[in-house]
């Protein structure tokens, strides 16, 4: 019998690998993707990038021009994320299994969360452009909607993870709903929620660049502009600055996490 389990497991793994192989090869054949050409062109891309796509001394002149743009992008991401977090907190309290008021609230808030989460941020940006044209507001709202969906889901799971125990205890003492939320649920889940919030801010700064390309605002627009002018040195400087910014934000939020968790 025991051998049977091992044989079964091995066969299961083999079947899984085979299925993966068929899927992969099938996709390559159907899309007529040339694997060899794909890999060899990577080296060509690297050679091209190395010889053109780097910031030179001359491109540094654009620094005063793009710093305000970078600042705008970072601040917009932070604003969108934090405002979304406040709303997400309310939605998640209404939606979580442990703190929901009743089924209907829970279904509605879960519905809102999954609607916002499942529409890609790029789609949000395009749709919102129709109403708000190319303005920072469009970018702000696109980030806001995306964050709202994600954070609601993340917060809801955080609250569920904290569990029922302390809620039960406080109910037994005669504490009311808001007492329990503020004295037990929030203190227990806040550090994890802040951690999600920091992650969302990092992600949004990256996404803000993409949204900026579409909505013509912030650092994304600068990149788009230089790139389309074939000013690759300036464009690469913009990319480098974005990378540095994201790394700095990541370092800061890792430190914050270490302190609060």
């Amino acid at each position: 019998m025991r051998d049977d389990i091992f044989t079964k497991r091995r066969n299961g793994n083999l079947v899984f690998l085979l299925a993966l192989l068929i899927l992969s090869v099938g996709s390559i054949i159907i899309t007529e993707y040339d694997v060899i050409k794909g890999f060899t062109s990577i080296t060509r891309a690297v050679i091209w990038g190395g010889s053109n796509f780097y910031p030179d001394a001359e491109s540094l002149r654009i620094l005063p021009e793009i710093f305000p743009k970078l600042q705008e992008t970072v601040l917009m991401s932070i604003a969108a994320t934090t405002v979304a977090a406040v709303l997400a907190l309310v939605l998640s309290l209404a939606g979580s299994q442990t703190t929901r008021i009743n089924r209907i609230f829970s279904i509605v808030s879960r519905g809102i969360a999954s609607l916002f989460r499942n529409i890609p941020i790029v789609a949000w940006a395009m749709v919102l452009m129709i109403s708000f044209s190319q303005s920072p507001l469009t970018g702000y709202l696109a980030l806001f909607f995306g964050s709202l969906g994600f954070l609601t889901r993340a917060f809801m799971e955080t609250i569920d993870e904290v569990g029922n125990n302390s809620i039960e205890a406080l109910q037994a003492t005669g504490a009311g709903y808001f007492h329990i939320i503020f004295q037990a649920v929030l203190p227990a889940s806040m550090p994890q929620m802040i951690s999600w919030l920091l992650y969302m801010i990092e992600t949004n700064i990256r996404d803000a660049t993409l949204v900026g390309v579409l909505t013509g605002t912030g650092i994304g627009f600068s990149f788009d502009l230089y790139y389309k002018r074939f000013d690759y040195h300036a464009a690469s400087l913009v990319v480098l600055l974005i990378v540095i910014t994201v790394i700095v934000i990541e370092l800061v939020s890792n430190n914050v996490r270490r302190v609060i968790l």
């Binding site: 039960e168 205890a169 037994a172 003492t173 005669g174 504490a175 007492h179 004295q183």
Partner: protein, 261 residues
């Protein structure tokens, strides 16, 4: 009049018969009552019916002269302030300090705003300090509860119940997760509370010998029915068989020791 009275209390989960089947008994002020019985006999359900954490399907429960099933939500909260509860898994908010967890016992007396903001009066704080001192937790008072041992956590649970100024304390398997030393400390505290403060203790227990040692009275439950209700000295091997059914042959109980000691 008895402090707590149950009349024909029945509880069905999902129309299945019967977590509790026609349970009737009454408990006086200051009594120490142990409820024993096999797992799944309905001990936890019985305890939770008393403070309406679980709603009884039929029957009548009166606490301190009030019939609990007829109470409005607000009055139920008020009744619960009179009934402390401690749990097998302590059910503390682990990220908060000992004193904060103890003061949670006062939330039932507070208005929504005062409770949400955690504003406790000087009196309440000094009462909490006094109780913490009685339970020997002076050194841990500002420690976070996730840094405490199991026995210390359970003492915080007891302090939280005591700070409610309860008339009854319900204990749901208070020592099931503790080592023998910590178990003894907890049971000694519970014994003192009933003797010296005149607070009624009702405790669900797995260990028959502990029940024999500490109780004024033992209630044996099997399949939702009360099959024994009397003084520890009246509990015979035959009655233990009634309570635990056929499993009793395997029980590690030495009734002879009781008579010797």
């Amino acid at each position: 009049m008895a402090l707590l009275e149950l009349k024909n209390v029945t509880k069905n989960y999902n129309n299945e018969c019967c977590a509790l089947d026609n349970v009737s008994f009454s408990v006086d002020k200051g009594e120490f009552v142990s409820i024993i019985g096999p797992s799944g006999a309905g001990k936890s359900t019985l305890l939770r019916c008393i403070n309406r954490m679980v709603e009884a399907s039929s029957g009548e429960i009166s606490v301190d002269g009030l019939i609990s099933s007829s109470l409005s939500k607000k009055k139920l909260r008020k009744l619960r302030t009179k009934i402390g509860m401690i749990f097998q898994h302590y059910n503390l908010v682990d990220r908060l300090t000992v004193i904060e967890n103890v003061l949670h016992g006062r939330l039932g007396y507070k208005s929504t705003l005062a409770g949400v903001l955690g504003r406790y009066s000087q009196e309440e704080k000094s009462q909490a300090y006094r109780i913490i001192e009685i339970l020997g937790l002076n050194e841990q008072i500002y420690k976070r509860c996730d840094q405490l041992s199991g026995g210390q956590k359970q003492r915080v649970g007891i302090a939280r119940a005591l700070v409610q100024n309860p008339k009854i304390i319900l204990c749901d398997e208070p020592i099931a997760s503790l080592d023998p030393n910590a178990s003894k400390i907890i049971m000694d505290h519970l014994g003192n509370i009933s003797k010296e403060m005149g607070i009624t203790i009702i405790v669900n227990l797995h260990q028959v010998e502990v029940a024999l040692k500490y109780s004024d009275r033992i209630i044996g439950v099997n399949r939702g029915k009360v099959v024994f209700d009397g003084a520890p000295c009246d509990l015979t091997t035959r009655q233990i068989r009634d309570i635990y059914g056929s499993e009793s042959e395997d029980l590690i109980i030495d009734l002879g020791e009781r008579h010797a000691g």
